[in-house]
Symmetry: D3
Amino acid sequence: MLVLLVNVNTSAEATAQMAAAARLKAAPGTEVVGLTPAYGATGVDSNTQSLIAAVGVMDAVRRYPDPYDAVVVGGFGEHGREGLQELVDVPVLDIAECAAHVAMMLGRTFSVVTTLQRSVAQVEDRLLLAGLVARCASVRAVGLATRELDDDPAAATDAIVACARRCVEEDHAEVVVLGCGGMAGLDSLVSAAVGVPVVDGVAAAVAVAESLVRLGLRTSSLGSTALPDLSATSWPIAPGEHDV
Amino acid sequence: MLVLLVNVNTSAEATAQMAAAARLKAAPGTEVVGLTPAYGATGVDSNTQSLIAAVGVMDAVRRYPDPYDAVVVGGFGEHGREGLQELVDVPVLDIAECAAHVAMMLGRTFSVVTTLQRSVAQVEDRLLLAGLVARCASVRAVGLATRELDDDPAAATDAIVACARRCVEEDHAEVVVLGCGGMAGLDSLVSAAVGVPVVDGVAAAVAVAESLVRLGLRTSSLGSTALPDLSATSWPIAPGEHDV
Amino acid sequence: MLVLLVNVNTSAEATAQMAAAARLKAAPGTEVVGLTPAYGATGVDSNTQSLIAAVGVMDAVRRYPDPYDAVVVGGFGEHGREGLQELVDVPVLDIAECAAHVAMMLGRTFSVVTTLQRSVAQVEDRLLLAGLVARCASVRAVGLATRELDDDPAAATDAIVACARRCVEEDHAEVVVLGCGGMAGLDSLVSAAVGVPVVDGVAAAVAVAESLVRLGLRTSSLGSTALPDLSATSWPIAPGEHDV
Amino acid sequence: MLVLLVNVNTSAEATAQMAAAARLKAAPGTEVVGLTPAYGATGVDSNTQSLIAAVGVMDAVRRYPDPYDAVVVGGFGEHGREGLQELVDVPVLDIAECAAHVAMMLGRTFSVVTTLQRSVAQVEDRLLLAGLVARCASVRAVGLATRELDDDPAAATDAIVACARRCVEEDHAEVVVLGCGGMAGLDSLVSAAVGVPVVDGVAAAVAVAESLVRLGLRTSSLGSTALPDLSATSWPIAPGEHDV
Amino acid sequence: MLVLLVNVNTSAEATAQMAAAARLKAAPGTEVVGLTPAYGATGVDSNTQSLIAAVGVMDAVRRYPDPYDAVVVGGFGEHGREGLQELVDVPVLDIAECAAHVAMMLGRTFSVVTTLQRSVAQVEDRLLLAGLVARCASVRAVGLATRELDDDPAAATDAIVACARRCVEEDHAEVVVLGCGGMAGLDSLVSAAVGVPVVDGVAAAVAVAESLVRLGLRTSSLGSTALPDLSATSWPIAPGEHDV
Amino acid sequence: MLVLLVNVNTSAEATAQMAAAARLKAAPGTEVVGLTPAYGATGVDSNTQSLIAAVGVMDAVRRYPDPYDAVVVGGFGEHGREGLQELVDVPVLDIAECAAHVAMMLGRTFSVVTTLQRSVAQVEDRLLLAGLVARCASVRAVGLATRELDDDPAAATDAIVACARRCVEEDHAEVVVLGCGGMAGLDSLVSAAVGVPVVDGVAAAVAVAESLVRLGLRTSSLGSTALPDLSATSWPIAPGEHDV
């Protein structure tokens, strides 16, 4: 089984890290291929970047030449899954949604620890659209941008643990979700520190993808996820000037 | 990996059918053991029966002598998962909740096709408690009790297909969920008839169980799912007279 | 008029206290009979115990030999009312729900003061299912288990008052509900201390029962509360070993 | 115990009918005094009339010279209870709210049968404000204004029964509420016709008033229901010209 | 274009201030006429006063002898707009609702700064009825009654700024709404102090009125806002004694 | 005052029609400049196209060389406003949101008439995100794609009127919103046919833009709408191949 794990930012290094973390938890027989969009932003921390990234993500998947069984979109709160679900007929999973689904099966309430305060809005909006807010105790920010997580990993980890602790103690979260693709791999450490299960969205999404593929389930081809008529749609789009 | 699939009714035949259906879709290496409670009801179609069944289910799991990796509770709308999550530390999955989680990843809205009109209330209540109603387009009943499904399988199938069709055409459901453990195995047939993905809760729950086990995730041991102090609790309970 | 007040735990002493408190506020002509389940838990502070208690409660009511006019289930957040409503045709009242109903008629918002933090979840779930959360300002825990309330009544009272004060001052509750059958009788004291009406669920439920009986109203016999077909249901159930 | 039952319209005949119906179901020892506002509208079927009626209702209660134990406002969807709760310190009950509270204790869902389609909006708004919509299956109109109910009682009754039947069959209501003070007394007849409990708001509110008085509970004097500073408020107000 | 700006309290001075503030921001060609009800309260801080004020507001508009193009009701959380919408066929705007509508177009979340804690309830209720709570981060009170705002303007302004700051910092409001007609004119100052857009409801409502008039849009004449049959309604009503 | 009206599709003809309709209702002194994205789709009827269109819309606004006072995004249910609000500091209005805001001020409930059934999902999602669903009675589709509206205008108009009539008669909508930029200009005709106010989103958004500009209000620069750090973001993007 081959799962395409498409990063939402343009950092090949981040893609590699995320794919490596995913492979550690994937089932035997699952091949995880990391894809980096050819354009977008090196760190996606706004709606502007998220919308460009969504097109870059669709472009990256569309260009992938070989067959695959599922797509995981590695962005926590970013746009894009809703478009990809129309374009491809294999399952398309969003790591924010998968993390919430998994968290809800492990406890009555969950909290999300994300990067910047402005990302809280995007995460909340994505959960709202996906119908996953009823058991969400809180979405809290550590105050670091996606790219800053790598600058000082130790400090970032401390901030994430402190934030997760507030989710547990103040918001009564029974499960914590790591709300950024760039936090992949920190789940065990944070869980050990705060004493509740911690869900890494990338691992969760790959596991869900494996399940859906094995069950033979695909995205609905009726309704809002049906293949649209793209005959009069600009495609591809790439960085560069166009004539005005 | 060993998954305990515990039926909520006391029909060993129903347990066997459900376990057989589950094994067809389980991953290689997953052993599915069907458990039948020693007491409860041969078909659970009310809250009274559901509450007795919940205790029977906890009793059955508690008596199981060997190690296991996850528990799937095979009731659609029945009580019980909330108790078992406290008692055991491996993941405990409810087929109604798992079916909804899986359905939400395959389309924007889902409907549930259940047995009797009175079961609609129980299914709606379970989804409400689990925080899974926002994307539920409808819960519809075919008008047959659990035990009647087996009496005339062909008629039951026709009724299920007709009901699923109304979900798609009138309620704009993009995915349909089979809302009774006794409907396990009909998913492909119904999907072919109505043209949208159809989720069988038993298969969904086993797949989710496999994922959680592989990811090393367990139910939260903090908060509402923590192990309670059962020192002054009557246990076991069994059919039979007691002194008043 | 005879009202059965069935305790959810197995402490005959607790039943006697609750019934005595109820009698102090019952109308002239109302006889309150306290029932103690033959099995369950001496204090119900978890879903596991609550599910066993629900069966014990149904068993106790079912065994009661004489006629009665209404049943009050003396548990705050426990399972059971939904089953009893099917089994008997006189009104069945849950003290948590009755307390909320009464509180909503006395002010715009109410808070519940309950025992343990884990019980908060159960109280919230019961109010959610009953459709009574919209005007609930908060559910707060004093941090004492049901059985601990009796160990040091003075300390328990202080903790309850302090918790009620936070509900009023921080959550702007205009009414406070005592969220545990074991707190029956403390309403006047807490009200005097915090300055808002305080509702004792047992007294509230008995009063509601009296009203419904006088109005000649009974539980609906159509839909989710109709009498189920119990022909193939294990009954009675009692503590003791059964053959596996 | 003396309960003031204040009509929201200015028809003394309607007040007398409502009070007579209430007395039939009141407890022994409860005296029901009907009050008719000195101004307002002979039938209240709009927000304009409802707002004038609210002031007339407050005026009528304020002028009542003798002591009383509770006030019941006999309007289904009208304004006014929120003002009276501030003005008097005995319990103030709204028949729409009381009917909903009582209905929720008799089944899982209830529907309201009201007069005109435009009244549906007012009933829905009142239930929304009171936090009582979660278990409301529907609010349906029979298409007759309040005053038309009396013109042809037989036809009105037929229309009410037909409307109640749709609530049960199409909306799966388990309890029906008569959504107009002018329908008082029809509950038994409608219940016999449609097979579910039918709640008459006036009887329900008087019963609730009796309970609250017996329990010694009063409206909260803290928060939104506290007595306001009325020193600089025009009062009384009466029909007649004023200088502009 | 002539916009009637009707105050909800009876202070002609407050009307004049509000109208002056409105004129500063009105479009060229918009005439703002301030109306003061002949009765009601000099400051409206409760439901009792709000209901009397609503009738006074309808009375004032009804007596206005000349043509006008729109009505703005200058109360933040008061009753009345729902009645006026029935009575007149030009647009009727409520400053609380208009402020919320405008705020929602300037940021993802908004908070309201109002006068007394008890007014919080009324503002929340009005937003709830108008369907405008989903993006409301909080409603906070400065702790001063309407009439106190004028007693010490400097202290009032400091309290408003401090309160607005908490909305931004603790509740993550991206826009602040001044929740009292008497705060008109403070928007620039508060905005400069807290760094987010601040919406003055009076200015917002006049601007909305101008837009609707220019677009030729009027209140719906079908449904809950249709002209009611007022033939048997007491009118006018004025301060003074009536015979009982 | 100059308002940029940016189409979400790439049809210059559609832009011209929309801008012409907008100018008919704009205030004197308002200049409406129509912008057509250089890439995207000739008709946007899916999430895929909507995401590409959002980038095209941001690109078109970003390239506009002269000053402007507000931006109106002419798409009903499309992505994009959330990105533009970050990029520019003048007000950015979405026609779906503005139409809903205006409709809510004209009646208690509104319905949206949109193009295809699949667009219903997108419109519902946009209203959900904007916090504008509470008073939305329904979103209904006429069953014609955006581009088909122009093929047979008479048939399209008939279909729109028939759909609006169902909204009024079955869903009790008091106001109807035309849910597609391509329906601009049909409001009077549909309103005359169905008897309720009909809101054209483009006209509504231009009017709102005029108001906000006159009031001196701008999008919040704090929180989710603040200018992001775009230093490492691919820009511009244009149709054409890029190296993989």
